[in-house]
Amino acid sequence: MLNLLRILMSSGALCLLLGLSPSVQAEEWTTEEVFARHKDAVVQVRIIDTQGGAKRSIGSGFLVSDDGLLITNFHVVADFVHHPGQYRAEWFAQQGVQGQLELIDVDVVHDLALMRGPELKRPFLAVESNLPNMGERIFSLGFPYDLGLTIVEGTFNGLLEKSLYERIHLTASINPGMSGGPAIDRFGNVIGVNVATAGNQVSFLVPSKYVIALLTRAQDDDKDELMARIGRQLIDNQQQYLGALLQAPFTSTDLGPYKVPAAIANYVNCWSQTDQANDRLYDHTQLACQTDDDVFLSESLSTGSISYTHELKTARDIGSLRFWSLLESSFDHFYGDLGGDKDSVTNFECQVSTVAHGELKRKLVFCLRAYREFPGLYDIVQRQVSLQESRSALESSLVLTGVSMEQGVAFARRFAESIEWTP
């Protein structure tokens, strides 16, 4: 915090952002007051297709300085970031006022973008990095479904406990088009940025400390090209969480005669299911774990997630030959769509081998693809089938998205090796 203040005070505009003065805290705002005082600081962000001349996507944004700096979500402006020639970004306000937006910086991991509108001279909001109390009233502003500026009232429900990427849980109806809009506490300060919803009033905000970090960083003389910066953010991000995971042994659980990695972190969510339907040829127990959130890169590609599945299959009335023949034919179509397109990722290349580690012999498949825009960033799909018993097998698959080669391979290897045969 000290560090932050030091940098913030060096800039006249940003100094006001924190808005921590006790006099402001004394007075509680009503919903009407929040709307009336902040309506001019919130604008609609439109990504315009330059060929077609009409909007490609819309979101919201809010001003954070008197010189036209605006915060919105990265996912609102992602098309503009990836294809700056094909799209342009514009802001729109009430009474038909509008102007161009340029991109200053992004925090792709926390889904934030910092823009500047040269003609965007409007009131701006103060950003508060301290979190409200549980149950406090929060107001969210934005343009849901292109319906005009709307204020939504809700309650603060703390930070998500099981989340790889920090998010505030807000109980309020945040709808498409409100992304990038500010969430305001009862003293009129921004405490988060609207980012996502799970429906039924379950909504999520990016904590405002990341807004402050982004504003602070934007002051640095960073000469890196934008894509290189995004790439570095992604690399740093995976370095952080995979590094932490690799520090300690994986939490494991028993699945039949095997020991498998289970919920290896609090943000990894596991579900299990046993299928013993009568018409099946084998019993089937599944343990599926994944991080519930990821990093949005584009409409077709998300990254920065971990997911893995273990399936124990035990032949029921069929012999070994038929059992393995079924495993072989079902093995081909299981991977699922990992998203992306020709311009964002390469095709997968795979390596297959029989590998023995510890007591367990297994067929191991390791597949890799590279991100075209971000050198050094890869997706890894690893699958293995135990070759231990003639009428029973453990199939495990691991999907790591947006990892460096070093971290990814280390993690995949640790994962494979922590699957053990313990009859």
């Binding site: 018409d279 099946r280 040829l281 070994s320 030959l321 038929r322 393995w324 023949s325 079924l326 495993l327 072989e328 034919s329 079902s330 093995f331 081909d332 991977y335 699922g336 769509d337 990992l338 998203g339 397109d341 020709k342 311009d343 990722v345 390469t346 095709n347 997968f348 290349e349 795979c350 390596q351 297959v352 081998s353 029989t354 590998v355 023995a356 580690h357 067929k363 191991l364 498949v365 390791f366 597949c367 890799l368 693809r369 590279a370 991100y371 075209r372 050198p375 890869y378 799909v381 089938v385 135990s386 070759l387 231990q388 003639s390 080669m405 391979v409 995949a412 290897r413 494979a416 090796e417």
Partner: protein, 323 residues
């Protein structure tokens, strides 16, 4: 009538493909040709005259002399109308729309062609026993394949249906070859084609199964597809050669190249479209063999497996830089 008459030659009436429809020996001269019933060769052709032409000796040479016909006489392939055509050698003629060939006597005939199938071991296939063995073998393999592909409880009627539809394809295959055989060499070796096709189909199934098991045992999963195509092409060439032996009367050696070329062409046509496209796939595609663990000989260490991953990295990095 002479007790022994030396023929001057013979006319052969040809169809459009050059096959002989009818043959008339020329025993006397002049020999008259036309539509009228008192000709020596009666033509059923509205473009010929009642008395169109006659064969007789002109200056000691056997000639076809036009009898002042409306449409005239021509050498085959020649548009020049000729009043008299010398008939010293074998030649083809056109009268009206009728094609004729004249064969003078005496003529030198090529020696008889040896039947390439006579005494050939291929006759093993041309019988009821071979055909039934092949069909039953293929049917059983098709049934077995259906059993292994079934993802639920076995329903034997449905499985038998699948196997029988395979056998039906085989029967059609053999029928097509037999018809070709009938057209080309006027013989109908249905059983032989059934046997060759049946053993071929069965062989290709056994080949893939064998390759799958060997690939699993010795760990060459990734190469099984290529090997299967390679050996499959050879097998197809052998099968085509077998079919061609029954169809064609050419010397066996001359059939090897066409069989190989046809097999290569077939494989090229089926494989090339796939090779040409560099379609984006958001899923990994890997050929992975899974068989009973008892057959898994040998294994790599985890260490060496992950050391090789650098090779993959080089490949995807190259793909990244050269889109």
């Amino acid at each position: 009538m002479d007790a022994v008459s030396t023929p001057k030659g013979a006319f052969e009436l040809l169809d459009r493909s050059g096959n002989v429809l009818h043959r008339v020996r020329v025993d006397k001269l002049p020999f008259r040709i036309g539509r009228a019933l008192d000709n020596d060769l009666i033509l059923d052709d509205v473009y010929s005259d009642a008395y169109h032409a006659e064969l007789r000796e002109v200056d000691g040479r056997l000639s076809l002399v036009d009898a002042g016909s409306v449409n005239g006489c021509y050498r085959h392939g020649n548009r020049q109308r000729e009043a008299s055509i010398a008939m010293e050698q074998r030649c083809e003629l056109q009268i009206g729309h009728t094609q004729l060939r004249f064969r003078p006597q005496p003529e030198t005939l090529a020696p008889a062609v040896a039947d390439p199938l006579l005494g050939s071991r291929l006759h093993v296939f041309d019988g009821f026993r071979s055909a039934s063995v092949a069909v039953i073998l293929f049917g059983l393999l098709a049934l077995l394949a259906a059993v292994f592909e079934a993802t639920g409880t076995l329903r034997w009627m449905a499985l038998a249906g699948t196997a029988l539809s395979g056998v039906a394809v085989l029967a059609m295959w053999a029928l097509i070859w037999s018809l070709v055989n009938r057209m080309v060499s006027h013989r109908f070796h249905y059983l032989a084609h059934l046997a060759i096709g049946g053993f071929g189909f069965a062989g290709s199934m056994l080949l893939d199964t064998l390759l799958g098991y060997l690939g699993f045992m010795f760990g060459f999963d990734a190469s099984v597809g290529t090997l299967s195509t390679l050996f499959g092409t050879v097998l197809l060439a052998v099968v085509l050669y077998g079919h061609l032996r029954f169809v064609s009367s050419a010397a066996p050696r001359r059939l090897v190249a066409p069989a190989a070329a046809a097999a290569l062409a077939f494989v090229a046509l089926t494989e090339l479209p796939g090779l040409g496209e560099d379609d984006f796939n958001s899923e990994p595609v890997a050929s992975v063999l899974l068989k009973s663990p008892a057959l898994a000989f040998g294994a790599d260490s985890s260490e060496s497996f992950y050391a090789e991953v650098d090779g993959l990295r080089a490949r995807v990095d190259e793909a990244r830089e050269n889109p």
